[in-house]
Symmetry: D4
Subunit: 256 residues, 8 copies
C-alpha cells in the first residue's frame, strides 16, 4: 500500500462512500501479516527502500520456514542473515527457491525482484584481513540483493600499509566505502584520512584476548581521529550494506 | 598541492631538470607545516574534502593560539571543537577574526572561505531532547562551515512518539538525517524505520545512573533493529556532520 | 501454617498448655522441609502470594527429581524454569504428573491447584521480535500458573512502529503490560509513552556483537525517557510474570 | 485534546465541513507546543496519566525558565527533577509560583492541580540507609504531586535485619512498596521475600570502591532470588514513583 | 626442611665445615622439585601451614599425572581442584590411591596424613541455594583435608529469610562462617549482621542474565553494609576453606 | 538488651504477668532508636561484637550531628569513616567530645569505652606504598577503637621485594595480617605465600590509567595464586579492621 | 625487493629507460601477492625483520592451505599460530613440509631458512605456572623460528617466591626476559624489580571467576609498580617473542 | 651496597670475625631507609639500573618533601612524576635544588648524577597529536635523566598518514621507538608495520565519549596486527622511557 492508495482511501471517506470504521480497519490490516510467531512488515520497503530481512540466528527452523515462505509470496527479494549451515540445509529442504551463501551465512530468494544495478561507480568493500571475509561477504550479498554494484579489496590491513595505499585511485572515486576490520580496527581511520568518500566501519569479532568479541575494533573506529567515518554493530555486514545502499539511493535519479 | 602539481613535478624529474633528492624534498615539505607542538596537515581538504579541524579539549591556550593563527593564514575555513568558554575567551583575545559559538562550544574563522550551499534539499538534524542541544549545535555549525544547508527538529524523543511521526514528509525527503539522542537512544531506530534516508546516530552523554556517559545510548543505536543507521562516537556532533557532508558531496554535481 | 495457626499457638503458650521450647520447635519445623540438597520454603505462598519456583538451570537431574517430588506432595502448583529439553525428559521419566512446555523451557505440575482467573481485563504481553518468544512464553506459562489471564501481541518492534501503534486500545485498557525485547530494547519506552498502564520491561539476550547477552536492551530500558516502566533481569520472563501478578493481585477483591 | 474532541473533529471531516488539510493541521499543532529549545508534550497526561516532568540536570537555567513558564500556563501540576540548588535559586527568581524541595532536589508548581489522594492504603517507601534519603525524597514528592498517599520507613538496611522485620504488618498491607538502597542493594530482595506486594527497587549511587555509581546495588536487585520485584535506573526516585502511581491508578475506581 | 635444619646448616658454615657454595646449593635444591612442566613447592606447608594444591582446570591429563605422582611421594595430603569428571577418571586410572569427589570436582590422596580434627567448635558452611552445592563441597572437602570440623546449612537464601534466622545459635558460636551464594549474593550481608564470627563470602557463578558469571554476587558481598565480612574469588570454595583454616589454626594451641 | 533480658521477658509472658502485645512492643522498641533520618541499631554490638559505625561520605552535616549526638549517649565507642576535613570541622563545632583523625578521615568519640587490648600478639598492618597510608590509617584507628593491638610495616611493595622479606619473623607470628595495596595489588599474594596467618587484602584506589579506581588491585587480590587470603572492598580499611577484629575475638579467652 | 632494487629502478626512470607507469606497476605488484582471500605481504621481513605470520584461529582450512602453500614458495621461514589440532592435521595432509607443535598450537615450515643463533646470551622465558605452558611454548617456537636462543624457567609463580629468587644470576644476565603469567599476573612485577633487563609481560587467560579471560593478569602487569616492563595482548606468546627478537636484533652486529 | 660488598661481608662471617646476627642486621639495614611514611629502596639502581622514582599524584606535599629530601642525599638522580603545578611549587619552596618541568609535570634533582649519553643512535619518540605532548614530555625527561639521547616527531597521527611515512629513514634506524597516542591508538600499529625496531606503545587518556580515559587507545595497541610492539599503562610516559632505557642499556658496551 503506497501513498497514492492512501490518498484515494481518504477521499472515499470524505465523499461518504465508506465510514470511519472501515478506514480504520483498512489501514490496520494492510501493511502487516500475522503469522504464528511473527508479524511481517510488508510495507517496510515502501517506507525505507529496503525489504524486511530475517535475522535467523535465534529463530528455530520452523519459525524460519514459516516466515520465509510467507515472504516468498511477496514480490520483493527475500534475505535472511546469520543462518548456520545446518539450519540453512533444513530450511532449504522445506522451502524451494532459496539459495544458501555459505561464507556469508545468508539465504536469499526472489532474486528476480532485485533491481538492475545502475551505471554509477561501484561501492567499495575493503577488509583488513582474510578472517574478516564472512562479514564482508554478508555485506556483498546484501548489496547485490539491493541492486548495488560492488568492488572488493580484501586483506589490506595496516600491518602492511602499502597494500591499501596502492589503491588510492579507487579510494578517491568510490561513492561510499565499507571497511571491515577486526583486531585493532585501525584500517577505517587510515582510509578515511585519504578519501573524500563517506566510510562505514564494520568492526569484526576477529581477535583474541582483549580483542575477542570485537570491542577493541569497535572502539578503534568510534574514536577515529579521521572524520567522515561512521560505524555499525560488530559483525554487522548487513547493516553496513543497508547504510551504503541508503547513501547511494539518489546518486543517479534516472536509474534508481 | 593538488594532483596536477604532482604530475608536473614528476615530469620535470623524468626530463632531467631536477634530481631525485629535490623531488623528495619537495614532496616532504609541502603538505605539512611544523609548529612547536603540531604538524599541520594542509592537504587534508584535498585528500578528504574537509579542512583539518582542531579538537581543543586537551590543548593548552597557547597551543590553540599557535595552531589557529597558522590555519588562518591558509585559504580554508577554520574550526575548533570542544572549546570551553574560558579558553575560547583567552584565544579570541590573542587571535583576531575568530568567532565563538557558545552553545556549540566551537570557534570558527575564515568564514568567507565557506562554499555557497547548493540548492539541494537540506540535511535534517533531529534531537531527542532539549539537553542534546549542544551536540546538535556542534553538528549544525560544522555543516554550515562545510557549506551544507540544515533543517532542524529539536526535542522529539520517543516518550511522545507523535512529535516525530508528524514530520513524516520531511523525514522522507531529507538526503541524510542526523539524529542526536541520549538516555536510551531509541529515536534513531524509530526514525530509521520510517525513512529511506541514511541515518547517522549521535549518542549523547545525557543521562544519569546507568545512562551517564552515553554508553546506553550508543549501544541502543548500534543494536538497532532498523537498518540504514550508522553511529559516531558519543557527543561527536562534528563527526556526524562530516559524515553527512561526505554523503552529500556528490548529490548535485553542478553545484558541489 | 498461616497467621491464624500462629495466633492459636501463641495463645496455648500464654495459657500454659505448652512451654517455650515446644513453641520454638513448632515454629522452626513447619514452614521448611529439609531435603538432601535443598530446604523447601513451603510458606512462601503465604508470605508472598507466589509458590516457590525452581530455577533448574544449575541443578542436577537428581536434585530436580528430589525437589519436585517433594513439592508435588504440597497442595500448590509446581513450576520449574530454565529446564533444558534433555534434563526435562529425564525428570519427567522419573516423576509423574509433570508437564514440559518446550518453547518456555518450563516444567509444571499440580495444575489443578491453579486458581480460576477472575473476570478482570487480561494482562498484556508484548514481544519486539519472534526471537523473544521463549522468554515471553516463560512469562505466559507463569501467569497461567498464577491464575492470571493473558493477551499476547508478538513481533511488534520499533523498526515498524505502526505494528504497535495500531493496538492503542488494548494498550490503554490493560492493567499491566509486560514488554519483552532484545537488540536495542526500545519498545518498552515507546509503549510506556502511550499508555497509563505500568509497563514491565524484560530485556532479552537476543542480539549479537555489542547486543549479545542483553546488556544493550537492559540499559535501553533502564534509561527510558518514558516513566511508568520498571525492569527485571535479562531473559527473566518468570520474574516479570510474578511482578505482574503482584500488581494485579488486588484488582478485583471479590475474585482474587 | 482528549478522545472526544478527536471524534468530533473526524465527524466534521466526514460531513464535509472541513477538508483533509485542516484536519491534518489541527492534529499536528494541538498536543505539542514548540519553544526555542523544546517541544512540550501537553497530551502526555492524557496518554499516560502522568504530566510531562522536566529532567533539569543537563538543561541551562534559561531553558528551564522557558520550559517551566510554559508548563505553568497549562492546568497540570509542574515538576522538575535533579535541580541543583544554585540553578533552582536562579529559576525561582525568574519564575514565580515554583517551590524548591532541597533534599529531593525538585521544583514543583501548580500544586492546586494535584488530585486529592483517595482513601486507599498508602504506598510504602523504604530506604536502606540515611544516605539514600535524597532519592527517596524525590520519590515521595513525585507521589505527592501525583495525588498518592505515602508511608515511609527510613534506614532499615540488612545489616540490622530486625529493623525491617518489625514492620511486617505494614509490609503485608501496602499496595506497592518502593525500596531505595545503595551499597549491596539487598534490602529489596529481603522485603520481596516477605510481602505479597509488588516491590520496586531503586538502586542508589551510595557506596564507594566497587559500589561507587550504584552498579552493585542495581545488579543485586536485578538478580534477586525473590520474585515480585522490578527495578528502575540508579537514583531514579521519580521513575519509581511513576511506576507506583501507575500500579495504583485503578485500585479504587471511585476515587481515582 | 624446617627452620631447625636451616639453623644447623648455617652453623656448619660458621664452623668452616662446609663452604658458601655448598650452603647455596643446599638451600637451592631442597624445597622445590623440578618436573617436566612444574616446579613443586614442597616447603609450602612449612611456610603457610597448607600443602600445595593443584588447580587442575587448565592442565593436561599428563601434567596432572606427573604432578600428583610426585606429590604422593611426599608425606602430605594431596588435593587437586576443578577436576572435570573425564579428566579425573583418566588420572585415577594412571595413579593409584587417589579418590575423586564428584560434586566437589576434587581429587584427594594421602588422606592418612590429614591431622586429627581438634575438639573445637566446627567451622560453619552455609549456602544460599541448592545450585551453590559444588562450590560448598569444594570448601568442605578442603577443610576435611586440612583437619577441620565442618557443620553445614544448605539452601538458606534470603528469599526465605527465616530459614537462616532459625539457626541463630549456631551462627553465634561458630569460630568462622563460610557463606556460599550466587544470584544477588545477599546472604553473607544478612549473616554478618547477626553474628560476631568472621564471615568469608564465596560468590558463585550461579545466575543468568546480569548474574551470569558471578559478578553480581561478588559486588554484593564486597559492598556489604555489614562489617566482619571478607570475600574470595568467584566459585573459590578452596580459597575460602584455606582462609577459614588459617583463621582457626591457633584456636586451641594444644591440639593444632 | 542481651540474651538474659530476653529470656526473663519471655518468662513473664509465660507466667501471665504481661500479655503478648506488651512483649511485642518491648522487643520492637529496645534495640533501635528512630531519628529524623536514621534508625540507630544499638544492639549491633551485642549481635556482632562491633558497634554501629557511621559512613559519613554521603551524609549531610546535619545528619551526622544528629546521629553522632545520639550515639554519644550510648555507652559504646563512636566512630565515623570517610569524613571530609571540612565536614569534620563543622561536626566537631556542633558536637563536643569528638576527635578527628585527619589522615584516616575518621571521627571518634566515647574512647573511654574502648576495651583494654589483651596481651596477645599484635595484628600486623602492611602497606605497599606511601600513598596507601590513608586507607591503612582507617584500619589502624578502627582496630584501636575495637581494642586491638597493631604493628605496622609501611611502604614495602613488590618493586623492592626484599623490603617485605626482611620482616619474615613478624609475618610468621602475626595472628592476622592486613595488607593494603594499590596499583597491581600483588603484595598480599607474596605475603600469603610466606605466612601461615590469614591475610586480609585491601585494594586501594591508588593508581592511574587502567589502575585508577582500584579494580586492578582488587582483581589481583581476588585471583591470587596463594591461598589464605580474602579481600574487602576497595579502600575499605574499616572493613578489613572489623574482619581482623572478628578473627581475633576469641584468641585468648581470658582477656577478650 | 630490497632497497637496492628500488634505487636501481628509480635510476632507470631517471635515465628514460622506462616510463612512470611502468615504475608504478612494478612497485605495485612486487611486494604483495594476491590470493583468493588474502594479499600476502612478502616484503614484511625487509621492512620489519620478521616474516609474515598467519593467525590461523579464524581462518578456514582451505584458506590456510592456500596461504601456507604460497608462503612456502618464498625463501622465508613459515609460521602459523593458534592452529587447533584438528585443523592442523587437515592442513598437514594437504601441504607437505609443515611441522605441527602441539603444545604451542603452531605450524612451521621452511625451517632451513631460520638464521643461525648468534653466540649472545639467551633470551629468558619464565612462566608462573604449569598451565601457562602453551603460551610460553608459542613464544619459544617463535623465537626459534627467528633464530634466537632461549632459556626457560617454568612454574615459578609468586605463591612460592623463592622459586624465582633462586635464579637471580640468570635474571641479571638475560638481554630480555619474557614472563608468562595468568591469575593475578604478579610475577612480571616481582622480576622487573630485581633485574636490569627489559621485561615483556604476557598475561594468560589462565584463571577462573574474575580471573577468567586474563584481564586480571593484564591489569596486574599494566599497573606494575616496577618499571622496565611492557605488556602484550593476553595469550600473545607470538607477540612477546617478536618484541624480544626486535630488542635483541642489534645486540652483536657481527652475527645478526 | 653492591655485590662485592656482599661477598666481603659473607667472608668475614666465614672467617668468624662477625656472627650471624651481625650479618643479618647489616643486610637488613643497608639497602632501605625508613622515613615516617616511606621505606626508601636505595639499592634499586643496583638491582635494576634505574633509580627509585616517586609517583607524586596521591602523596601529600609533606610526604613529598620528606621523601625527596632523603633522596637528594643519595648520589643518584632524583625524579618525581605526576606532580601537579601547585604541589610542585610548594615542594620547591621547601626543598632546594629541584627543577619543575611543567608540561611533563615532573620534578628532577641531582642532575649532575646523570650519566653522559653515549654516541649511539637516539631513541625515537613519536606522538600522534598535540594533546599527547604531556605524556611524551614525561618520557623525554625520564630518558634524559637516565642518560639517553632522544629524537622527537610530534603530531604525526594516522588521519594524515603521510606525516609519519615521510620519516621512514629515522624509523628504520632507531634502536627503539616510543609511540604516544590517544583516540583510537592506531599509530603504533602503523609504525610497527614499517620498522624493524621494537615499538613501545603508550596509550593516552586523550579522547572523549568512548575514548575518554584511554581504554580505546590501549585496546588498539594490545590488539595490533603488527608484531614487535608492547604496551605500557595509559599515560605512562615514565614507564615507556624506563623500558626503552632497559632495551638500550647494552647497545654499546664501551659507553654504557
Amino acid at each position: 500500500m503506497d501513498e497514492q492508495n492512501l490518498r484515494t482511501l481518504l477521499h472515499t471517506l470524505q465523499e461518504g462512500q465508506i465510514d470511519i470504521s472501515e478506514v480504520v480497519e483498512c489501514l490496520r490490516r494492510l501493511p502487516t501479516e500475522s503469522l504464528t510467531s511473527a508479524c511481517l512488515d510488508h510495507h517496510r520497503i515502501l517506507r525505507t527502500g529496503m525489504p524486511e530481512a530475517v535475522l535467523a540466528e535465534h529463530k528455530t527452523t520452523n519459525q524460519l520456514i514459516e516466515i520465509l515462505t510467507a515472504q516468498l509470496r511477496q514480490p520483493n527479494v527475500v534475505l535472511a542473515t546469520r543462518v548456520a549451515k545446518d539450519k540453512a540445509r533444513a530450511v532449504c529442504k522445506a522451502v524451494d527457491k532459496l539459495r544458501y551463501h555459505e561464507s556469508a551465512r545468508m539465504l536469499t530468494g526472489n532474486e528476480q525482484a532485485i533491481p538492475e544495478p545502475s551505471n554509477t561507480t561501484a561501492i567499495l568493500l575493503v577488509t583488513a584481513g582474510t578472517s574478516d571475509l564472512p562479514v564482508a561477504e554478508e555485506a556483498r550479498i546484501t548489496l547485490y540483493c539491493l541492486g548495488r554494484k560492488v568492488t572488493t579489496i580484501y586483506d589490506a590491513g595496516v600491518a602492511g600499509i602499502h597494500r591499501i595505499l596502492e589503491h588510492q585511485k579507487i579510494l578517491q572515486q568510490a561513492p561510499v566505502i565499507i571497511v571491515v576490520a577486526g583486531m585493532e580496527g585501525a584500517l577505517p581511520s587510515v582510509i578515511a584520512g585519504i578519501t573524500p568518500a563517506p566510510v562505514i566501519g564494520v568492526p569484526t569479532s576477529i581477535g583474541y584476548g582483549t580483542g575477542a568479541g570485537g570491542f577493541s575494533a569497535l572502539l578503534g573506529m568510534l574514536n577515529s581521529c579521521a572524520p567522515g567515518l561512521a560505524v555499525v554493530n560488530i559483525d554487522n555486514g548487513f547493516g553496513a550494506a543497508c547504510m551504503a545502499a541508503a547513501i547511494t539511493r539518489n546518486l543517479s535519479p534516472t536509474t534508481r
